[in-house]
């Protein structure tokens, strides 16, 4: 294009043209697309959500059967690895094939579910960890231990809340056959890319008057599943054996 015999720049100057479709048109297009995405996500979520689980026991809030009692009259038979608290005397026996020992100190230990166990059960994702910890009863009650643990979890699971879905409560909570308290919490943790990863945590605590113990089972991506069930169910089954394998000081 020329004017006055002069060749004008070939590039059209920027900023002197309205955007294609006009401002309102763009806003309308954007709003329409966002609304479509919202409706699609709602529909997807509605049709793919898991059906609420039915309580496995006939009486809501009550255990199906009486909780097991600690065997007596025979020395313990240790088939797994035994960890003993050097400071407080309580102990824990775990299967080294199912659990790997992580950090530990004189009052507690963390166990990670081994990748072999996770893959052997058919899961391709997710992780489960168990933390067992004790304090002298004079330092904290079971309620205080649970509260402290929820606060600690909140640092990595910022939206943690008690799981109020039916059929999710812990019936007859006990640690090492010692009755206590327990609850299930759910939330999400931040992914490195900005997303969210679901987390569930079962927290139990009990005391014998001299010692208060805490048992925490955290499952990351609990919905990761196979046709036979999800990781949370599998981790709870393994964790149930573990929580019975806690030994109190003086009890052999």
């Amino acid at each position: 294009m020329t004017a006055g015999g002069l060749a004008l720049p070939t590039r059209r100057p920027r900023g002197d043209q309205a955007a294609r479709g006009g401002g309102r048109g763009l806003g309308g297009t954007f709003g329409t697309i966002v609304l479509l995405v919202i409706f699609a996500a709602i529909a997807w979520s509605y049709f793919t959500q898991a059906k609420p689980g039915q309580p496995s026991c006939p009486n809501p809030g009550q255990p199906c059967v009486a909780p097991p009692r600690q065997p007596t009259g025979a020395p313990p038979l240790h088939l797994g690895t035994v960890w003993q608290s050097s400071e407080l005397g309580f102990g824990l026996e775990y299967s080294p094939r199912a659990w790997q020992a992580g950090e530990q100190d004189g009052r507690g230990i963390r166990l990670d579910m081994s990748p072999q166990a996770i893959s052997a059960m058919g899961f391709s994702a997710g992780q489960a960890i168990v933390v067992v910890r004790g304090v002298p009863a004079s330092e904290a009650t079971p309620q205080q231990l649970v509260s402290q643990e929820v606060d600690l979890l909140r640092q990595t699971v910022p939206d943690i809340e008690a799981d109020t879905r039916p059929g999710r409560e812990i019936l007859g909570p006990e640690i090492g056959y010692q009755p206590g308290i327990g609850n299930v919490y759910v939330g999400t943790t931040d992914g490195a890319a900005g997303g969210a990863v679901p987390v569930s945590a079962a927290i139990l605590s009990a005391s014998d008057g001299r010692l208060s113990t805490l048992f925490v089972l955290v499952v990351v991506d609990p919905g990761a599943g196979t046709p036979q069930g999800d990781l949370e169910d599998a981790a709870r089954t393994l964790g149930d054996s573990l929580v019975n394998a806690v030994s109190w000081p003086g009890a052999t």
């Binding site: 006055g4 002069l6 060749a7 920027r14 294609r20 979520s45 959500q49 999400t188 900005g194 997303g195």
Partner: protein, 415 residues
Amino acid sequence: MAASPRPTRPPLAPGDSIEACTRRRPVTSPPILDCPRCGVAVPARAFCASCGEPLAATADGRAQSRSYAAAPGERVTSIALVSTLFPHLRRADMAVFRLALVGAAVVLVALVLLRLHPVALVTAAVVVPILMTLYVVAVDLYEDEPRLVILATVAWGVVAGLVAGFVIRRIVPIEPATVLGPGDGNVVRVAPLLVRGVVLTLAEAALMIAGPLVLLRHHKFNDVLDGATFATVAAVSFVGARLLTDAVPLLGTGLQPQGATLPWVLRVLSAGILTPVLTGALMGGVGGALWLRYRAPVRDRSALGAIGSPAVAVAVAAAGFVVVAAARLVLPQAVAAAVLAILTVLALLWLRRVIHLGLVEEAIEALEAGEVTCANCGHATPRARFCTECGIALRALPKGRGAADPTIAAREQAR
């Protein structure tokens, strides 16, 4: 007596950098400034080459260098999201995009308040990518090029983000970097931190820029703006698709899963607004540096200083990505969000400098198309719309190169 015309001033010297041109220089190489009326970067002569505005009172190159070429009312150092991400929009259209961003943020918060957390996260994944796609299509950014180029850039980001998300989800176990410890505190584990915070983060960044790098080979995309635009568009599309792969599995947890509200507000705003803006700005900076080094005129290569070097730009962007990912994995959510916000501001300022340089470069390209002798005053003036010496519209002049009007020439000489 007819005054003899002033000697012809040479155009910008081939070795001059943009930075140098924005300062006062000898008459042989006039500084560049933004016209106060039209905002176009033009030589600091008597009149604006673009609109004819008298420039004598504002011919201060240092003052000009702080004005942002895409929005003359703002400074290069201003923190402005819309004029940085969408620089080619008119002011009125910028207002629409600003409103769209604010509206989207309000919708995201509303979805969280309705406890539709997964829906909010899915929506957050598409907000900025949709706006960016609408922008590049709406402003006809590459009107002379096949639309395929820009669509391919978007497609690259989307496909690479989806593939990266699904592959990472399948082959890398979800292993939190911060877990409960045996004592009263959490424990940071090095291996997950290195894998998720460093290795995977950098691999994803490399994937984002890989698509735009293909276009670096093409000489027709020879502007700093081209590199910044390609990289920003690909990065924003990638981040949206990547977040979708994280968000969609959450849809299976129910329409209104449990979870406290405030952390979710922080999460969706961080993931939906801050993260794509940060990623787009960092990648835009890298793209701009690459194009500046390999496609821009030699004289401009030092225009951005050290950050204009591709090696430095890549290192800075990589550090930014790693810091944000590590903060998410290790720090409490509010602190990580604060880190993300601070880095986003810094990255925006970087991208703004790149875009400003690109726009000034475009203006100089146009002005360097050559000089003509103004038929009105007889002075040399860039091939533009207005004579920089007497302010007359060149289009208004006759096609032939008649002699200059001696009266006007004498008045101009006296001035």
